[in-house]
Protein backbone atom coordinates (compact mmCIF):
# COMPACT_ATOMS: atom_id res chain seq x y z
CA UNK A 1 0.00 0.00 0.00
CA UNK A 2 1.55 3.23 -1.13
CA UNK A 3 0.85 6.41 0.72
CA UNK A 4 0.70 9.49 -1.48
CA UNK A 5 1.04 13.10 -0.55
CA UNK A 6 -1.12 15.62 -2.37
CA UNK A 7 0.37 19.10 -2.22
CA UNK A 8 -2.25 21.71 -3.00
CA UNK A 9 -1.89 25.39 -3.76
CA UNK A 10 -5.43 26.77 -3.58
CA UNK A 11 -6.62 30.23 -4.44
CA UNK A 12 -7.48 32.41 -1.45
CA UNK A 13 -11.17 31.93 -0.68
CA UNK A 14 -13.60 32.70 2.11
CA UNK A 15 -13.90 29.89 4.63
CA UNK A 16 -17.16 28.22 3.48
CA UNK A 17 -15.98 28.12 -0.10
CA UNK A 18 -12.60 26.76 0.99
CA UNK A 19 -14.24 24.01 3.02
CA UNK A 20 -16.43 22.99 0.10
CA UNK A 21 -13.40 22.95 -2.22
CA UNK A 22 -11.51 20.68 0.18
CA UNK A 23 -14.53 18.43 0.46
CA UNK A 24 -14.74 18.20 -3.30
CA UNK A 25 -11.08 17.29 -3.53
CA UNK A 26 -11.46 14.66 -0.81
CA UNK A 27 -14.57 13.23 -2.46
CA UNK A 28 -12.54 12.56 -5.63
CA UNK A 29 -10.22 10.33 -3.58
CA UNK A 30 -13.12 8.51 -1.96
CA UNK A 31 -14.63 7.94 -5.40
CA UNK A 32 -11.49 6.08 -6.44
CA UNK A 33 -11.79 3.73 -3.43
CA UNK A 34 -9.13 5.68 -1.60
CA UNK A 35 -8.70 6.57 2.05
CA UNK A 36 -7.53 9.85 3.49
CA UNK A 37 -5.05 9.75 6.32
CA UNK A 38 -4.40 13.38 7.00
CA UNK A 39 -5.48 16.89 6.00
CA UNK A 40 -3.15 19.72 6.90
CA UNK A 41 -3.18 23.49 6.47
CA UNK A 42 0.26 24.96 5.79
CA UNK A 43 -0.97 28.53 5.91
CA UNK A 44 -1.85 31.28 3.48
CA UNK A 45 1.11 33.15 2.03
CA UNK A 46 2.21 35.05 -1.02
CA UNK A 47 3.40 32.94 -3.95
CA UNK A 48 7.07 33.08 -4.92
CA UNK A 49 5.98 34.33 -8.35
CA UNK A 50 2.71 35.37 -9.90
CA UNK A 51 0.83 32.49 -11.48
CA UNK A 52 -1.65 32.86 -14.35
CA UNK A 53 -4.07 29.97 -14.52
CA UNK A 54 -7.70 29.40 -15.47
CA UNK A 55 -7.80 32.96 -16.83
CA UNK A 56 -6.75 34.63 -13.57
CA UNK A 57 -3.54 35.95 -12.08
CA UNK A 58 -2.69 34.85 -8.54
CA UNK A 59 -0.16 36.36 -6.18
CA UNK A 60 -1.30 34.73 -2.90
CA UNK A 61 -2.43 31.20 -2.17
CA UNK A 62 -3.43 28.79 0.60
CA UNK A 63 -1.19 25.77 0.95
CA UNK A 64 -2.80 22.45 1.90
CA UNK A 65 -1.47 18.94 2.26
CA UNK A 66 -3.39 15.68 2.05
CA UNK A 67 -2.09 12.22 2.77
CA UNK A 68 -4.03 9.42 1.19
CA UNK A 69 -3.96 5.88 -0.16
CA UNK A 70 -5.40 4.93 -3.53
CA UNK A 71 -4.74 2.24 -6.10
CA UNK A 72 -1.69 3.44 -8.05
CA UNK A 73 -3.48 3.42 -11.41
CA UNK A 74 -5.95 6.04 -10.16
CA UNK A 75 -3.26 8.58 -9.29
CA UNK A 76 -3.04 9.79 -12.86
CA UNK A 77 -6.81 10.13 -13.10
CA UNK A 78 -6.85 12.13 -9.87
CA UNK A 79 -4.13 14.44 -11.13
CA UNK A 80 -6.06 14.96 -14.35
CA UNK A 81 -9.22 15.74 -12.42
CA UNK A 82 -7.48 18.26 -10.15
CA UNK A 83 -5.98 19.93 -13.20
CA UNK A 84 -9.46 20.86 -14.31
CA UNK A 85 -10.44 22.27 -10.89
CA UNK A 86 -10.46 26.10 -11.14
CA UNK A 87 -9.84 26.54 -7.41
CA UNK A 88 -6.52 24.71 -7.56
CA UNK A 89 -3.60 26.85 -8.73
CA UNK A 90 -0.97 24.12 -8.50
CA UNK A 91 -1.06 20.50 -7.34
CA UNK A 92 1.52 17.75 -7.12
CA UNK A 93 1.21 14.14 -5.98
CA UNK A 94 4.25 12.57 -4.36
CA UNK A 95 4.96 9.16 -3.01
CA UNK A 96 5.46 9.53 0.73
CA UNK A 97 8.95 8.56 1.75
CA UNK A 98 9.38 6.34 4.81
CA UNK A 99 10.46 8.31 7.81
CA UNK A 100 14.14 7.94 8.48
CA UNK A 101 15.68 7.92 11.90
CA UNK A 102 18.85 9.94 12.01
CA UNK A 103 20.99 10.27 15.08
CA UNK A 104 21.74 13.80 16.20
CA UNK A 105 25.35 14.72 15.43
CA UNK A 106 25.17 18.35 16.47
CA UNK A 107 27.80 17.90 19.18
CA UNK A 108 30.24 16.57 16.65
CA UNK A 109 29.37 19.23 14.09
CA UNK A 110 29.93 22.08 16.56
CA UNK A 111 33.55 21.11 17.14
CA UNK A 112 36.35 23.02 15.35
CA UNK A 113 37.22 21.54 11.96
CA UNK A 114 40.41 19.60 12.84
CA UNK A 115 38.61 17.82 15.71
CA UNK A 116 35.80 16.56 13.50
CA UNK A 117 36.01 12.90 12.53
CA UNK A 118 35.08 13.40 8.88
CA UNK A 119 37.70 16.14 8.50
CA UNK A 120 40.33 13.89 10.07
CA UNK A 121 39.41 11.14 7.65
CA UNK A 122 39.69 13.56 4.74
CA UNK A 123 43.13 14.67 5.93
CA UNK A 124 44.26 11.06 6.18
CA UNK A 125 42.97 10.38 2.70
CA UNK A 126 44.79 13.39 1.28
CA UNK A 127 48.07 12.24 2.84
CA UNK A 128 48.19 9.28 0.50
CA UNK A 129 48.01 11.68 -2.45
CA UNK A 130 51.17 13.59 -1.44
CA UNK A 131 54.14 13.04 -3.69
CA UNK A 132 57.27 11.65 -2.01
CA UNK A 133 59.67 14.45 -1.02
CA UNK A 134 63.35 14.14 -1.79
CA UNK A 135 65.35 13.22 1.28
CA UNK A 136 68.79 14.97 1.45
CA UNK A 137 69.90 12.81 4.44
CA UNK A 138 71.82 15.67 6.06
CA UNK A 139 70.29 15.01 9.47
CA UNK A 140 69.02 18.60 9.44
CA UNK A 141 65.44 19.74 9.25
CA UNK A 142 66.40 22.55 6.87
CA UNK A 143 68.37 22.82 3.65
CA UNK A 144 71.86 24.06 4.63
CA UNK A 145 72.81 25.67 1.32
CA UNK A 146 71.43 28.52 -0.67
CA UNK A 147 68.74 27.33 -3.05
Amino acid sequence: MITYELMLVLRVMPKPELVSTLKRIAQCIYDKQGIIRKVENLGTKSLPFKISIHGNVYRDASYYLMEFNTPPHSVEELAEEYNRDVDIIRKQIYKKAAEEFKECTLDEELQPAPYRKDVQELLKKSESLHKPKFDYRTGLDYYPFQK
Binding site: K15, K23, A26, I36, V39, E40, L42, G43, Y64
Partner: protein, 209 residues
Protein backbone atom coordinates in the same frame (compact mmCIF):
# COMPACT_ATOMS: atom_id res chain seq x y z
CA UNK B 1 87.61 -15.01 -58.11
CA UNK B 2 86.31 -15.19 -61.66
CA UNK B 3 84.76 -12.08 -63.12
CA UNK B 4 83.03 -12.36 -66.47
CA UNK B 5 82.66 -9.04 -68.19
CA UNK B 6 80.34 -8.62 -71.09
CA UNK B 7 82.19 -5.88 -72.84
CA UNK B 8 85.70 -7.29 -72.93
CA UNK B 9 84.54 -10.85 -73.62
CA UNK B 10 87.59 -12.00 -71.70
CA UNK B 11 88.23 -13.62 -68.39
CA UNK B 12 90.14 -11.79 -65.70
CA UNK B 13 91.30 -14.02 -62.95
CA UNK B 14 92.66 -12.26 -59.89
CA UNK B 15 93.20 -13.31 -56.35
CA UNK B 16 91.70 -10.70 -54.09
CA UNK B 17 93.90 -10.00 -51.13
CA UNK B 18 92.63 -7.58 -48.54
CA UNK B 19 95.36 -6.60 -46.09
CA UNK B 20 93.24 -4.28 -43.92
CA UNK B 21 89.57 -5.09 -44.43
CA UNK B 22 88.49 -2.35 -42.03
CA UNK B 23 89.77 0.31 -44.44
CA UNK B 24 87.29 -0.78 -47.08
CA UNK B 25 83.85 0.74 -47.31
CA UNK B 26 81.18 -1.83 -47.99
CA UNK B 27 79.01 -1.20 -51.03
CA UNK B 28 75.72 0.35 -50.17
CA UNK B 29 72.52 0.42 -52.16
CA UNK B 30 72.75 3.65 -54.10
CA UNK B 31 70.21 2.94 -56.74
CA UNK B 32 66.75 4.33 -57.09
CA UNK B 33 64.12 2.44 -55.11
CA UNK B 34 62.76 -0.81 -56.55
CA UNK B 35 59.19 0.37 -56.73
CA UNK B 36 59.96 3.19 -59.16
CA UNK B 37 60.05 0.76 -62.09
CA UNK B 38 61.90 0.94 -65.36
CA UNK B 39 62.87 4.33 -66.81
CA UNK B 40 61.10 5.39 -69.97
CA UNK B 41 64.36 5.51 -71.94
CA UNK B 42 65.32 1.99 -70.80
CA UNK B 43 61.89 0.42 -71.23
CA UNK B 44 62.54 -1.29 -74.58
CA UNK B 45 66.25 -1.84 -74.14
CA UNK B 46 67.29 -5.48 -74.58
CA UNK B 47 70.37 -6.24 -72.49
CA UNK B 48 72.99 -8.23 -74.45
CA UNK B 49 73.22 -11.91 -73.55
CA UNK B 50 76.36 -12.92 -71.69
CA UNK B 51 78.69 -14.63 -74.11
CA UNK B 52 80.87 -17.26 -72.53
CA UNK B 53 83.82 -18.51 -74.59
CA UNK B 54 83.79 -22.20 -75.55
CA UNK B 55 86.97 -23.10 -73.63
CA UNK B 56 85.77 -21.29 -70.56
CA UNK B 57 82.45 -23.12 -70.69
CA UNK B 58 84.12 -26.51 -71.04
CA UNK B 59 86.46 -25.75 -68.19
CA UNK B 60 83.60 -24.65 -65.93
CA UNK B 61 81.59 -27.75 -66.76
CA UNK B 62 84.57 -29.99 -66.03
CA UNK B 63 85.16 -28.35 -62.67
CA UNK B 64 81.49 -28.56 -61.80
CA UNK B 65 81.36 -32.24 -62.78
CA UNK B 66 84.37 -32.91 -60.61
CA UNK B 67 82.79 -31.10 -57.71
CA UNK B 68 79.51 -32.98 -58.01
CA UNK B 69 81.23 -36.38 -58.28
CA UNK B 70 83.36 -35.73 -55.21
CA UNK B 71 80.46 -34.46 -53.16
CA UNK B 72 78.36 -37.46 -54.07
CA UNK B 73 81.11 -39.87 -53.08
CA UNK B 74 81.58 -38.16 -49.73
CA UNK B 75 77.85 -38.22 -49.08
CA UNK B 76 77.60 -41.89 -49.97
CA UNK B 77 80.55 -42.74 -47.79
CA UNK B 78 79.07 -40.94 -44.77
CA UNK B 79 75.67 -42.52 -45.34
CA UNK B 80 77.13 -45.99 -45.50
CA UNK B 81 79.14 -45.40 -42.39
CA UNK B 82 76.65 -43.73 -40.08
CA UNK B 83 73.10 -44.49 -41.25
CA UNK B 84 71.00 -46.64 -38.89
CA UNK B 85 69.91 -48.84 -41.78
CA UNK B 86 73.49 -50.05 -42.37
CA UNK B 87 74.43 -50.49 -38.72
CA UNK B 88 75.65 -54.04 -38.04
CA UNK B 89 73.57 -54.30 -34.83
CA UNK B 90 70.39 -53.21 -36.59
CA UNK B 91 67.75 -55.79 -35.72
CA UNK B 92 64.07 -55.03 -36.28
CA UNK B 93 62.92 -57.53 -33.68
CA UNK B 94 65.29 -56.08 -31.12
CA UNK B 95 64.12 -52.56 -31.83
CA UNK B 96 60.48 -53.55 -31.44
CA UNK B 97 61.21 -55.42 -28.23
CA UNK B 98 63.02 -52.38 -26.84
CA UNK B 99 60.12 -50.16 -27.80
CA UNK B 100 57.59 -52.48 -26.19
CA UNK B 101 59.65 -52.71 -23.04
CA UNK B 102 59.90 -48.95 -22.84
CA UNK B 103 56.19 -48.58 -23.50
CA UNK B 104 55.31 -51.09 -20.76
CA UNK B 105 57.49 -49.19 -18.31
CA UNK B 106 55.91 -45.86 -19.23
CA UNK B 107 52.45 -47.40 -19.00
CA UNK B 108 53.19 -48.73 -15.54
CA UNK B 109 54.32 -45.32 -14.33
CA UNK B 110 51.27 -43.71 -15.85
CA UNK B 111 48.93 -46.22 -14.18
CA UNK B 112 50.61 -45.57 -10.88
CA UNK B 113 50.17 -41.82 -11.26
CA UNK B 114 46.55 -42.31 -12.26
CA UNK B 115 45.88 -44.33 -9.12
CA UNK B 116 47.51 -41.71 -6.91
CA UNK B 117 45.51 -38.96 -8.57
CA UNK B 118 42.31 -41.01 -8.29
CA UNK B 119 42.66 -41.14 -4.50
CA UNK B 120 43.24 -37.40 -4.38
CA UNK B 121 40.36 -36.73 -6.70
CA UNK B 122 37.90 -38.81 -4.72
CA UNK B 123 38.99 -37.10 -1.54
CA UNK B 124 38.56 -33.68 -3.12
CA UNK B 125 35.12 -34.51 -4.51
CA UNK B 126 33.97 -35.83 -1.14
CA UNK B 127 35.18 -32.63 0.51
CA UNK B 128 33.44 -30.52 -2.09
CA UNK B 129 30.16 -32.38 -1.62
CA UNK B 130 30.39 -31.93 2.13
CA UNK B 131 31.15 -28.26 1.66
CA UNK B 132 28.24 -27.82 -0.72
CA UNK B 133 25.86 -29.56 1.66
CA UNK B 134 26.99 -27.34 4.50
CA UNK B 135 26.69 -24.25 2.33
CA UNK B 136 23.17 -25.27 1.29
CA UNK B 137 22.20 -25.86 4.91
CA UNK B 138 23.59 -22.47 5.82
CA UNK B 139 21.70 -20.80 3.00
CA UNK B 140 18.51 -22.58 3.96
CA UNK B 141 18.91 -21.39 7.55
CA UNK B 142 19.59 -17.87 6.34
CA UNK B 143 16.52 -17.98 4.12
CA UNK B 144 14.39 -19.21 7.01
CA UNK B 145 15.71 -16.43 9.21
CA UNK B 146 15.12 -13.88 6.47
CA UNK B 147 11.58 -15.12 5.90
CA UNK B 148 10.93 -14.90 9.61
CA UNK B 149 12.33 -11.40 9.72
CA UNK B 150 10.27 -10.33 6.72
CA UNK B 151 7.15 -11.81 8.24
CA UNK B 152 7.82 -9.97 11.49
CA UNK B 153 8.36 -6.78 9.53
CA UNK B 154 5.13 -7.29 7.62
CA UNK B 155 3.26 -8.07 10.84
CA UNK B 156 4.64 -4.92 12.41
CA UNK B 157 3.61 -2.92 9.36
CA UNK B 158 0.11 -4.37 9.49
CA UNK B 159 -0.11 -3.65 13.20
CA UNK B 160 0.94 -0.04 12.66
CA UNK B 161 -1.54 0.31 9.80
CA UNK B 162 -4.32 -1.12 11.96
CA UNK B 163 -3.45 1.36 14.65
CA UNK B 164 -3.35 4.20 12.16
CA UNK B 165 -6.65 3.07 10.65
CA UNK B 166 -8.42 4.37 13.74
CA UNK B 167 -7.32 7.89 12.82
CA UNK B 168 -8.24 7.61 9.13
CA UNK B 169 -10.57 10.28 7.84
CA UNK B 170 -13.80 8.69 6.65
CA UNK B 171 -16.51 10.54 4.74
CA UNK B 172 -18.32 10.91 8.05
CA UNK B 173 -15.40 12.56 9.83
CA UNK B 174 -14.23 14.50 6.79
CA UNK B 175 -16.08 17.67 7.64
CA UNK B 176 -14.66 17.84 11.16
CA UNK B 177 -11.15 17.10 9.92
CA UNK B 178 -11.33 19.85 7.30
CA UNK B 179 -12.73 22.26 9.85
CA UNK B 180 -9.90 21.46 12.24
CA UNK B 181 -7.25 21.78 9.51
CA UNK B 182 -8.56 25.13 8.30
CA UNK B 183 -8.53 26.52 11.82
CA UNK B 184 -5.13 25.10 12.81
CA UNK B 185 -2.37 25.91 10.31
CA UNK B 186 0.89 24.03 10.76
CA UNK B 187 4.35 25.39 10.07
CA UNK B 188 7.31 23.08 9.59
CA UNK B 189 9.59 25.98 8.82
CA UNK B 190 11.08 26.33 12.27
CA UNK B 191 14.51 26.23 13.83
CA UNK B 192 15.67 24.66 17.09
CA UNK B 193 17.99 26.40 19.52
CA UNK B 194 20.45 24.66 21.83
CA UNK B 195 17.80 24.14 24.54
CA UNK B 196 15.47 22.44 22.03
CA UNK B 197 13.04 25.38 21.79
CA UNK B 198 11.28 25.82 18.48
CA UNK B 199 11.67 29.18 16.76
CA UNK B 200 8.73 29.38 14.40
CA UNK B 201 8.66 31.51 11.26
CA UNK B 202 11.03 32.53 8.54
CA UNK B 203 12.58 35.35 10.59
CA UNK B 204 12.66 36.36 14.22
CA UNK B 205 10.07 39.10 13.76
CA UNK B 206 7.50 36.95 12.03
CA UNK B 207 4.39 36.35 14.05
CA UNK B 208 3.42 32.97 15.32
CA UNK B 209 1.01 31.22 13.03
Amino acid sequence: MNVITNSSKSVITTAIHIPFPQTFQSVRWARKPRWLGTAKSKLFRIPPRPVIPKEEELELRRLNNNYRTQMKSIRNYLTERYHVKYLPSSNVEQIREDFEKDFAQCNEINTKWNEEIKVLREQRIAEEINKNIEEAKKQLNEQIMLDKKNLEKAEEEVRLEKEAAKAFITPDTLEAAIEYAVNNPVDYNYAIDMEGNKIIGKDLNSSKL
